[in-house]
């Protein structure tokens, strides 16, 4: 699938999964508006790297059989992408919101745990969708039916 078509669909899905987790689990020192902003912004910052840059780096954007085992490259991509996303989001969150005075270690740990958990949830659901070929079996026929 063209990654530029997938980008908005995947981003919306990720935000829908991650934002409620961040709203619930980020520490109480952050107002609701900030948690909501974090839900949209953190994913927005890492998603282009995860969906556009890394697939190109691992030769998944335009798969070429001569690059080697596709499944191995997909697993390598997942390891790198799913490590990069939570780490980068934690760093961004730290720089953006933890530079205020009076942030405790406990609050910081809780925020990072919430970000990691949100990423794991979206990764897990994404893999479930991939494993059941949901897009090809459900979304594509539905999109086609809209067009006819």
């Amino acid at each position: 699938m063209n990654l530029w078509i997938f980008f908005p669909i995947g981003y919306t899905f990720t935000v829908l999964v991650e934002t409620p987790i961040l709203l619930l689990l980020l520490s109480r020192r952050h107002p609701l508006s900030r948690r909501l902003f974090a839900g949209f912004w953190l994913t927005l910052c890492t998603y282009p790297i995860v969906v556009l840059v890394l697939p190109a780096a691992f030769g998944l954007a335009t798969p070429d059989p001569s690059l080697g085992d596709l499944e191995f490259r997909r697993i390598a991509y997942l390891v790198v992408a799913e490590t990069f996303a939570p780490v980068a989001e934690c760093v961004l969150f730290y720089v953006a919101f933890h530079s205020e005075p009076g942030v405790t270690r406990g609050e910081m740990a809780r925020d990072f745990a919430a970000i990691v958990l949100a990423n794991l949830a979206s990764f897990g659901l994404g893999e479930l969708i991939y494993a059941t070929d949901w897009f090809q079996n459900v979304a594509a026929p539905w999109l086609r039916s809209l067009g006819t």
């Binding site: 530029w4 912004w41 780096a57 030769g59 059989p65």
Partner: protein, 188 residues
């Protein structure tokens, strides 16, 4: 006198050097890259039968990279100039900057953040315009038992792709589906 002699020596050296430079042999031109050779022989490639986005003849789509011997690698070997690399990095930088400006920008923060969103939209728009596929989404097709294809077939060599695709026009797909239901051959 010594000064004059030294100046003369320098002038002579300069004249000799410039003459040598002017007569320097033309550096050898890099050889022009040869056209990628046609890959011969038997090999395994992914194969899909799909419904075509629009009606027409049955088309066999073969990506060029399957036919050519190491014809300019895509993906990892395309390096940092791959359009997805550039667009992805540009978008990330725009969103990170825009977010921080929105958070801390002060008086002009919102204007700069709006400008960032505009830049991001331009990047997405440009890239989408350059890369986007036709809006119709091809979907996999299953052949019912006993289906026959004969007559004309279009062969399309695509600039890129993952494997060989057989695109079946929608009218024929409907005919095949009816045939699968009724067990009788239906003309498209």
């Amino acid at each position: 006198m010594t000064l004059c002699r030294n100046l003369l020596a320098v002038a002579v050296a300069l004249v000799i050097a410039s003459a040598a430079g002017a007569n320097e042999a033309v550096p050898p031109q890099p050889p022009k890259p040869a056209a990628p050779a046609l890959k011969l022989g038997l090999r395994e490639v992914p194969f899909q039968v799909m419904a075509a986005p629009r009606d027409g003849e049955i088309t066999l789509v073969v990506p060029a990279n399957l036919l050519q011997e190491a014809a300019g690698k895509q993906g990892a070997d395309a390096g940092f100039l791959h359009p997805l690399f550039l667009s992805g990095v540009a978008l990330t930088l725009a969103f990170v900057t825009g977010g921080f400006v929105l958070l801390r920008g002060g008086r002009h923060g919102k204007t700069i953040a709006a400008a960032t969103v505009l830049v991001a939209a331009l990047v997405v728009g440009y890239a989408a315009q350059a890369n986007i596929a036709p809006p119709a989404i091809p979907y996999p097709v299953k052949f019912p038992t006993g289906v026959r294809f004969d007559g004309k077939l279009f062969l399309e060599v695509a600039p890129e792709g993952t494997g060989v695709k057989l695109l079946v026009p929608p009218s024929r797909v409907i005919a095949m589906e009816k045939m699968a239901e009724t067990g009788k051959e239906v003309k498209p």
